[in-house]
């Protein structure tokens, strides 16, 4: 497994480079928007990857609630962290594109913008909870919050659905028409982002697993240490009571 990691890293780097080349050089220029549109090769794959990671977070949290498995908890944590990063990329690249094309940075009533922002807020609060809670119950609390967050997503979507939406229709399955060459580049970009996301999650997963092992070892060590010293330590206490 460990040997696979550098190989996969190199492959991902190559794929990301190839995707960048395709996005900047090979993909045709948009008839209406010009070159500005090329940001979708970063924006859309980040969005898809981020949503996928949030979905995995939800599934892992449910598994944790049922089975109490440590690995599921670590997976949920890792997916939330990396998902927030991808979601941040989406929220930054979106306005960058919107400013020249729509003339505004942000459309407050738009369904996809607002629900992505709310999703981001929910998962940031999830990470804040994990940071602020220091006990063994953290994992349970975080899993419960993840379930609440996932339940919230459709409600957020419907609550904003009422408003007229300004975002371009989804490229796939939304009836939008896109040049097949563009779609090709988009899918390759997505592959590259998925590989990158997977790679980051993997190394973060290993790191977190190691961190917990070290913590456990420390706890065991201090327990063993406490047993050794305890007869000595009780001497001053018993004196002071006299």
């Amino acid at each position: 497994m460990k040997r696979l990691f550098p190989i996969l890293s190199v492959l991902t780097a190559l794929l990301l480079g190839y995707a960048l080349y395709l996005a900047l050089v090979v993909a045709p220029t948009d008839a209406l928007q010009g070159d500005v549109y090329r940001i979708i090769y970063y924006h859309v794959p980040s969005a898809w990857t981020g949503m996928l990671l949030f979905l995995i977070n939800f599934v892992a949290s449910v598994i944790y609630l049922i089975r109490r498995s440590q690995k599921a908890d670590i997976l949920a944590l890792v997916c939330a962290e990396v998902g927030v990063v991808f979601c941040t990329v989406v929220l930054v690249t979106g306005p960058l594109w919107a400013r020249p094309v729509w003339g505004i940075w942000w459309a407050p009533g738009d369904i996809r913008l607002t629900s992505t922002l709310v999703l981001w807020l929910i998962y940031v609060s999830y990470l804040v909870l994990r940071r602020f809670s220091n006990s063994a119950q953290t994992q349970m609390l975080a899993a419960a919050l993840a379930v609440f967050g996932a339940l919230d997503v459709p409600l957020v979507y419907f609550s904003i659905w009422f408003f007229r939406t300004q975002h371009p229709q989804p490229v796939i399955g939304g009836g939008g028409s896109m040049d097949p060459r563009m779609l090709h580049v988009l899918l390759i970009s997505w592959m590259a982002f998925l590989c990158f996301g997977f790679l980051v999650c993997w190394s973060r997963f290993r790191l977190e697993l190691l961190r917990r092992e070290v913590e456990e070892a420390h706890a065991l060590e201090s327990l063993a240490g406490a047993e050794e010293i305890s007869p000595k330590a009780s001497v001053p206490l018993s004196r002071s009571t006299k």
Partner: protein, 225 residues
């Protein structure tokens, strides 16, 4: 089932009696939302026509912030003398406790709303153009939406450092659809521009979903060790 409701009622009556004698939460909430009203009135200085459009947002933001005060105190009482730990080891159903706390908070926040709404009407020269009775379901459903999640997250943030700050950080993101429903629904009724039915249905859905989720997960949260 009788035991369940008996426990719920006992805890609820105890909380209301405590609140009635101390009036800690209610006084703090009232003064806090009064301050919000006054500060908003100064900073916007609205005409009657404008205020109709912004009042829905102002009212609910004031109530949301004020409700945090009551919600933060919900479990603090039970922490003294390890009452919560005693509850945890007792065979009493956890959901009875949760329901009692939620209903208690619902009553406190509703009293606050009943007292504050006339003030809003005076400060912002409101008069309702749509069907006014619809404000009642919006208020009831909206308050329950805030309170049921708030009680749950207050129980969650008990186990964290700086718990008073944690509660709004957890509650606000999840509450966004409910707040949107309340604000947009209230504005729709006040201006009479469009029907508020959609928002009432939205709030109802939100309430059903999150009441179920809270009841399903509260025991896990209470016993999380």
């Amino acid at each position: 089932m009788n035991l369940f409701w008996g426990l719920t009622l006992a805890t609820l009556v105890k909380d209301i009696r405590l609140e009635w004698r101390s009036k800690d939460a209610l006084n703090a909430m009232l003064f806090f939302s009064l301050l919000v009203v006054v500060i908003f009135a100064f900073s916007f200085d609205p005409l009657a026509e404008e205020s109709r459009h912004i009042a829905g947002g102002l009212i609910w933001v004031a109530f949301l912030f004020a409700a945090i005060v009551a919600l933060n105190q919900t479990w603090a009482r039970e922490m003294r003398n390890q009452v919560l730990d005693a509850y945890r080891v007792s065979p009493a159903p956890a959901n009875a406790l949760f329901l009692a706390k939620s209903i208690g908070n619902f009553i406190f926040v509703s009293v606050l709303e009943a007292l504050m709404t006339p003030l809003f009407v005076i400060f912002y020269n409101l008069h309702v153009l749509g069907p006014a009775w619809q404000l009642i379901p919006i208020a009831l459903l909206g308050t329950w939406a805030l309170v049921v999640n708030g009680t749950f997250f207050a129980a969650m943030s008990l186990r964290t450092r700086s718990r008073e700050i944690m509660l709004p950080l957890l509650l606000f993101p999840i509450s966004i659809p409910a707040v949107l429903g309340m604000v947009a629904g209230t504005t729709a009724v006040l201006t009479g521009d469009n029907p508020a039915h959609f928002y009432i249905v939205l709030l109802l859905t939100y309430d059903v979903v999150f009441t179920t989720a809270s009841l399903a997960l509260f025991e896990t949260i209470l016993h999380a060790e």
